[in-house]
Symmetry: C2
Subunit: 204 residues, 2 copies
Amino acid sequence: MDGARNPSDRSDARLEAQFAFLNEADRLKSVLRATTLVDGSRVENSGEHSWHLALYALVLADQAAPGVNINRVIRMLLIHDLVEIDVGDVPIHAANGLAHGSAETIAAEQRAADRIFELLPSDLRDELRALWEEFEAAQTPDAVFAKSLDRVQPVMANLMSGGGTWTTYNVTAEQLEHRVGVKIARGAPALWDWVKARAATFFP
Amino acid sequence: MDGARNPSDRSDARLEAQFAFLNEADRLKSVLRATTLVDGSRVENSGEHSWHLALYALVLADQAAPGVNINRVIRMLLIHDLVEIDVGDVPIHAANGLAHGSAETIAAEQRAADRIFELLPSDLRDELRALWEEFEAAQTPDAVFAKSLDRVQPVMANLMSGGGTWTTYNVTAEQLEHRVGVKIARGAPALWDWVKARAATFFP
């Protein structure tokens, strides 16, 4: 995907489609999450969250398993939440942990992916849709590491802001382990050990 | 930078430094820009702007010159505005176009880079600082393309939101060409032709 294509592909129709997608993506900046900024001043939106996660991948690359391709992880994280433009963010600890990953949510996210990626020229549509499906399936090493980062960033925000969504949703140590810890540990075991030790003070 | 390092490097001290940087970076979400969201509802912050630009690089990769490494461009764009945590965003059209790139601004940004990248372990500090300096110097093909995207995204926001900062700062067609167009055209000539045609209606 690097470098130039055939200049004839730089058509007006192609650019129209590329910008239709980029302008639609702008709406992710208006999707609000449950997690706050590190300073607790307001809740985070899914656009800035996606940036922060890509930076996590860049800075914590040494926590990935051998063979993980950090450039692919970064690309995955840049697009992983776009479906929230239609579906909204479903907090991991909301509805006693049952809303996130429900059949209804998954079906709605598939419809959102159909609509949003369809805005792109077909080659980019297929490429980014496949990358998003890979993230969702969480089976490849790249996706497993990306998922770990997606889980650890809100933990860090909660640690920094004095409890955050753990307080909002009355989360127990067991729920944190089950909903969050298992997925962080799957892709970045040392990272979970490290943040778990620091989270312990919030779960006496 | 992909894959695992020597496990002995996954020390507590290293992770402390990595998270000190990632937590400090969170403050970029509170730096406000002059440009609004595409829907005009509020001004954009530099964190979500950085995400949007990385997505621009992913989607508009075919506009880059041959040999441009899009993965490096994305990494550059993820970190390009971190110095604004200390310096703030300096709008391109503010102070009659004289504030952006002034000697004072450049010196302040160097001091900010010293402070912020120094939070990282030394290998990452050197790597990301060099990448930021490359972006600022705007000489390599990767940096030239990254700069083009950084200029074209606010143009698109202004187009979509009915004039935006062009109205705020009474920008003329000549000023747009000089402050913005030249830099977009340098890294992505077809892109400037395309947006310039669409901007014409705002500069009768």
